[in-house]
């Protein structure tokens, strides 16, 4: 029985083995399969290798591209830097010499109480500035003016050199100028470009009393004491109001020698203090002493002293200018006709409507013979508008009414066109 069982088992195993052998590939088949797999692996390996090579190539290209971009950026940066420096160098070189200027055309239509009319059109001022900077500390500034369009013999106008000075920064603390410069006094004497003030014509107080525009030859020392607190002191040529030639009075304005073969026997000493410590506010005072206001030509005259003070306030849209000036002339000559005191003042409120328009009114009084009891006072009322189509271009229209001591009243209107650059 045991033998039978073993036999049955053995036979079953053989059957099973033979059945298995029938479903399994042969060794040859297996070999073929293995070779196919091997080939596929080789292909994959080759593809991998190829991809690696391509990847490396791409990586190299990316690195090269990055490098190229970097180099391009550096090139652009260098190019831009060089271009800007070149532009700046050219600009700076060109800017060592600068040109500027201003001009104003006036139309006046006035009538006095006798019915006499004055209608005039006049290119009042054509001005060119030339400046040159020799180095950071030394510079030239000049102003050449043609008044009333035509200059020459029997013509109305004249060519005037109103400024031509060398300015030097002695140190970070001191500055000095020498030459022909505007006297540091008043509001419009130094800043009188038409776009900077109201009214077609400059105000009569500064014109007849200070007398603007007023320039002399000499030396001036300037500095700033503290924030917004500055000073100027000057020694210069002076006025000559002696009664000679075409001059018939001791009027201050007639004494301007304009540094044209000017008598310089007696000098003038000027000092100004100015405070601009708050935005929009300027307070200033000037004192000038002249040793002899006739340059020793008139023994009946002598020294003279000017005192001037003013305020300029611009807060928001509201503006206010106010000025007072007085001359005191020594000697019996000036005193005889009241010229020993020449004085005037004005007040000018204004309102800036917007960027383009502003309105103003001004009341002024001046008297070149205030030293006696005779009525010699002028007063004038002005009302007008400025239109700035550009901040450097202005059109002006104003009405004026003037009371004169001799000829009574006159009134009329003025139109102006002005520019600066």
């Amino acid at each position: 029985m045991a033998i039978l069982k073993k036999t049955v088992v053995a036979m079953s195993v053989m059957v099973a083995v033979s059945s298995v052998q029938a479903a399994t590939p042969s060794n040859e088949e297996m070999w073929v399969l293995l070779q196919q797999v091997q080939q596929q692996l080789t292909d994959v390996q080759q593809q991998n290798n190829q991809l690696l090579v391509e990847n490396q190539s791409l990586k190299t290209k990316v690195e090269q591209t990055e490098k190229t971009v970097l180099e391009a950026n550096e090139t652009v940066e260098a190019l831009a830097e060089t271009t800007e420096q070149a532009v700046k160098a050219v600009s700076t070189s060109a800017n060592n010499t600068t040109i500027g200027g201003y001009g104003e055309l006036h139309y006046n239509n006035l009538e006095d109480e006798d019915g006499d009319k004055t209608k005039k059109v006049d290119f009042h001022r054509f001005v060119l500035f030339f400046a040159h900077e020799f180095n950071d500390r030394l510079r030239l500034f000049s102003e050449l003016e043609l008044e009333h369009s035509i200059a020459g013999e029997s013509q109305n106008g004249e060519i005037e050199l109103e400024q031509a000075y060398i300015e030097y920064d002695i140190s970070s603390q001191y500055r000095v100028k020498g030459g022909l410069f505007l006297t540091p006094v008043g509001i419009i004497n130094e800043t009188h470009e038409p776009a900077t003030f109201y009214g077609t014509e400059r105000n009569n107080v500064e014109k007849h009393i200070i007398p603007a525009t007023w320039w002399e030859a000499g030396a001036m020392f300037s500095g700033e004491i503290a924030q917004g607190f500055s000073y100027d002191v000057a020694i210069s040529s002076g006025l000559d109001v002696s009664k000679e030639g075409t001059k018939s009075t001791y009027k201050i304005r007639d004494g301007r020698q304009k540094v044209s073969q000017a008598l310089a026997d007696d000098l003038a000493y000027t000092g100004r203090l100015k405070w601009t410590g708050l935005p929009g506010i300027e307070l200033a005072a000037t004192v000038q002493y002249q040793e002899d206001i006739t340059q020793s030509q008139d023994p009946t005259a002598g020294s003279a002293t000017l005192f001037e003070t003013h305020a300029v306030i611009q807060r928001g849209d509201f503006g206010l200018r106010a000025l007072y000036a007085i001359w005191d002339l020594d000697g019996e000559g000036p005193k005889a006709d009241g010229y020993d005191e020449q004085t005037g003042w004005y007040v000018e409120p204004s309102y800036r409507i917007n960027e383009y328009f502003g309105v103003f009114t001004r009341y002024s009084e001046w008297d070149n013979q205030a030293g006696n009891a005779v009525d010699s006072e002028y007063d004038q009322f002005d009302l007008g508008v400025n239109w700035w189509p550009h901040e450097d271009v202005v059109v002006k229209l104003d009405y004026q009414n003037q009371d004169k001591p001799a000829n009574g009243e006159s009134d009329g209107f003025n139109v102006g066109l002005g520019y600066q650059f």
Partner: protein, 173 residues
């Protein structure tokens, strides 16, 4: 008028006294680097540039009132603020301004270098503080800036660079 009889001595005395403690207007008040170090507390970010491409160049010209002379404008920015160093001519010479903008408003504006003969008063804090917290409103500053008498062009220069910095801060932000 007897009080004016001897003004020469007064003038000379006044000149000597005043000249002994004068502070002059022209010069470099702060270097660009010192300005940036101050603004960013010693951690000055790397500078960036904004190129004056066609549209931007046109807007910048409108803001300045003339074409910008350079090709680009350099600036410095961190999370809180941007800083700009800009030059603009007053009357004749370029004035260098340092401007700090935070949240679209001027945080600070300073004159770093002034080369004009007149108008140096614009560097004083009494004047520059008017710009504090000013922002752009339709390409204009949203408040009036009171000027300095006789320094109109220097004031104008500071006003236009303030506008430019505010615009560029928004443009690059």
């Amino acid at each position: 008028m007897s009080q004016y009889k001897d003004p020469l001595r007064v003038l000379i005395f006044m000149g000597l006294i005043l000249s002994s403690f004068t502070v002059f207007a022209r010069g470099v008040y702060q270097t660009d680097q010192d300005f940036l170090t101050e603004v960013f507390n010693n951690s000055v970010p790397k500078s960036k540039v904004v190129w004056m491409k066609a549209d931007l160049a046109s807007t910048v010209a409108e803001l300045l009132g003339h074409k910008y002379a350079g090709l680009r404008i350099r600036y410095w920015r961190n999370e809180q603020r941007s800083a700009w160093i800009l030059e603009e001519i007053g009357k004749e010479k370029p004035i260098t301004f340092g401007i700090v903008v935070a949240e679209g408003k001027i945080e600070n504006i300073k004159v770093l270098a002034f080369r004009e003969s007149r108008g140096g008063e614009i560097r004083h804090p009494a004047f520059t503080q008017q710009f504090k917290l000013v922002q752009l409103d339709d390409m204009q500053l949203d408040r009036n800036i009171d000027g300095v008498s006789g320094a109109t062009l220097s004031v104008r220069a500071m006003t236009v660079v303030a506008r430019l910095a505010l615009y560029l801060d928004k443009f690059t932000g």
